[in-house]
């Protein structure tokens, strides 16, 4: 997940607040992962205030759809929602 655009470097304490904001969005996706993976399988989603405001099959389509929905890219958090949990051998 992450904001769709880079941000001006704020004072480091503000950076912590931004990271906390990102953590809350990430926590929302984790807590709702079972529902989201059925509603948006293998899609990229954009969250604003814990609501899905746009989806896309790839990042470029998502960007187009975020803008079409009237949102600034800096105001959404994006995530990839795999239909099934991925197995990784790292």
């Amino acid at each position: 997940m992450g904001r769709e655009s880079t941000m001006e470097m704020p004072p480091l304490e503000e950076a912590v607040a931004r990271i906390r904001e990102a953590e809350r969005a990430s926590a929302f996706v984790r807590e709702n992962y079972e529902r989201l993976r059925h509603e948006y399988p293998n899609k990229r989603i954009a969250l604003h205030d814990f609501e899905v405001v746009a989806t896309g099959n790839d990042s470029w389509e998502l960007v187009d759809n975020v803008q079409a929905a009237g949102f600034d890219l800096a105001d959404v958090w994006t995530f990839y929602i795999p239909a099934e949990p991925m197995r990784l051998l790292l």
Partner: protein, 145 residues
């Protein structure tokens, strides 16, 4: 102390931590990126999904990395080999007490291949060596201290 979480979009859920990443060669700006804690990785790596989706690298920008990278290396992984370019990086970690911990180092940025498009970025020993690591799936604790 920095807290992470277990990400259920992997099976089994993988220990993950969110870090503010600054790439000074691009701009003095940061982007929160989720990194899988990979105790088997020597280096912290940024994979194409995060480079493209979150840091909004363009394809030409990725292709131009050899011009600014300190070094390039071919690293082997389960999806095969890929070329990684080492660039300076600043990592901002949010501690429990609300203060930031900043670590300056490098990050290996992968050139896209057919096998690494969906790989998460990984936090390797170059950063993990700074911490005592707690990973407890039973309690859900992911701690860097």
């Amino acid at each position: 102390m920095i807290r992470g979480f277990f990400d259920p979009s992997y099976q089994p859920p993988l220990a993950t931590i969110l870090i503010g990443l600054v790439l000074p060669h691009r701009a003095p700006t940061y982007v929160p990126v989720e990194f899988i804690i990979d105790t088997g990785a020597s280096d912290t790596c940024l994979h194409p999904s995060d480079a493209l989706d979150r840091l909004r690298f363009s394809d030409p920008e990725l292709a131009g990395l050899p011009r600014i990278a300190r070094a390039n290396r071919v690293l082997a992984g389960i999806t095969g080999t890929a070329v990684y370019f080492a660039v300076p990086a600043r990592y901002i970690l949010a501690q429990d007490d609300g203060t930031p911990r900043v670590i300056d180092g490098e990050i290996q940025i992968a050139q896209p291949t057919s096998g690494n498009r969906l790989l998460p970025s990984v936090l390797g020993w170059d950063l993990l060596q700074h911490f005592r690591i707690t990973l407890d799936r039973r309690t859900g604790e992911v701690l860097l201290q």
